[in-house]
Amino acid sequence: MRTKLKRILSLLRIEIGVSWRFPILEGVAAILFFGFLMNSLSMGRETGFSTGNPQPVFDFLDGLAPLMLHRGMMSFNTLVLLAPILVAIAVARPFEDGFYRTHLTLPVKRLTLLVTKAGLVILFLAGLLSSAIMITIPLTYPLLPTVADLFLVIVAIWLFIALQVSISTLIAVQTKRLTTTVIGGIVFWSVNMSLLGLEGYPSIAAVILNPMTAATEFITQGHRAPVIADFQLGMVISLMIVVVLFILSFMIFERTEV
């Protein structure tokens, strides 16, 4: 047990040294900073802060909470775009730079290595988004959210990130290319966002494809709030898709030549 733990810790440290280093983390921080900066500037321009007329500012402040939530969700959804980029760096790039060839000849199981790589991306992104949403929702929600509501949102965030990471991981192990992983992940994300914008889009499909947004809208009684039964079913189906995609990825990775 202790030996296994020591091995896993060593593997984690190597993985952090390979995939979570300068300039990758700095790049992520820059995307976060500029994303939120652009979002703030965009909100300010719409309300006419620069015109000198105070009325639009008062009107803006009245509607700030829902706007923050809406914009916040847009930012959070955009942040999910980091998933294919980080998966490409962690899972696809090692095919190209020879990391797998070097490290899969050390006593490391392929399954353990892939779980470590994909798990770290999920942990990082879901942790980041969970923290951000935990701050945003209490600020914007008209009533104090219950623990159950927050729990639901957190689970939905982890599920959404896991879904995006599982799809990107499958593309990465299948194509062994950094660029195709990024492009494939972005295409999935774009289709996902486009579908969410469609009128008459079934709520259960929204939960399956984007549980994060569905959960947030659900607890804040947004216009697309699905009924709870649909919501639970959607989450279970989404989880099943994640599991199937990861199993497929592991099976392919186990047989992949490096």
Binding site: L9, S10, R13, I14, V18, G98, L104, L106, P107
Partner: protein, 309 residues
Amino acid sequence: MRGREVTESSIMVSVKQMTKKYGTLIALDDTNLEIESGILGLIGPNGAGKTTLLRILLNLARPDSGHAQVLGLDTKTDSFEIRRRIGILHEHPSFPEAVSVRDYLQDVCGLYNSDRTPESLLKLVDLEYAADRKIGHLSAGMRQRVGIALAFAGNPEIVFLDEPTANLDVESREQILDLIFELHQKSGVSFVLISHILSELERACTHVAFMQSGRIIESGQINDVISRLTQRYYRIKCSESHLLIDRIREINGTTSARILGPASISLVTDSDYDDVRTRVEQIATSLGVTIYSLEQAATLEDAYREVIR
């Protein structure tokens, strides 16, 4: 090696009827090889299948047919256990660039759960002074030493080294070859060396195997192989080789004569030793050249040329 009587326990690697194709390219063609305890040099031209064979032994690639064992363990089903007991240096190893050499080796020792320390590994390859440098800041030669240190992190029973002396200066090459020999002598570690520098292999190896077009075409104890393949090879040491070479080529049965240096000639001929000696001495006397020695002697390089001819 293949075809020889060896005890079961002395066979470190066994490859049987291994075939591997990449599309229409046949990388391994019904390859058979048995590697005994010792230091084996795996030799062949580019594209001969050496690296493919190594990748299959390490379970980085899957054969189309045939099977292989390393340390008596099946490469497909017991890959983890094999990797725990072997060491590898790849031709172009990839390391985490932003991590210090010490930290990286510490983590790799952790993966092996080895009692080795980064300091002992760095001492092995004479790189203690760079322990705290980031790997990304190391020169090509220093990275090569890190790769060699990595190969010994798990106290391996057999070590596969693909171009171990690439990027190293002359002194470092000598040091690595000495290290290989010393580890084999003192600790009984076996080695499989893949290299194109045949003079180094000749110095370091106890056995050789020649590969061409995906097949092992010759293998055995190094001196047996050289003498078997180069019975027609002679080396002439003389005062001025350039004066002698044209006339030497005229000796009956000569298939090749080339200058090895200002005072050395390599001759390949079907004539027997006495005839060659008589003819060479006659020619040398007529040209006023002194012959210091004429011996049936050849190098691993000669054997290689002969076998791939």
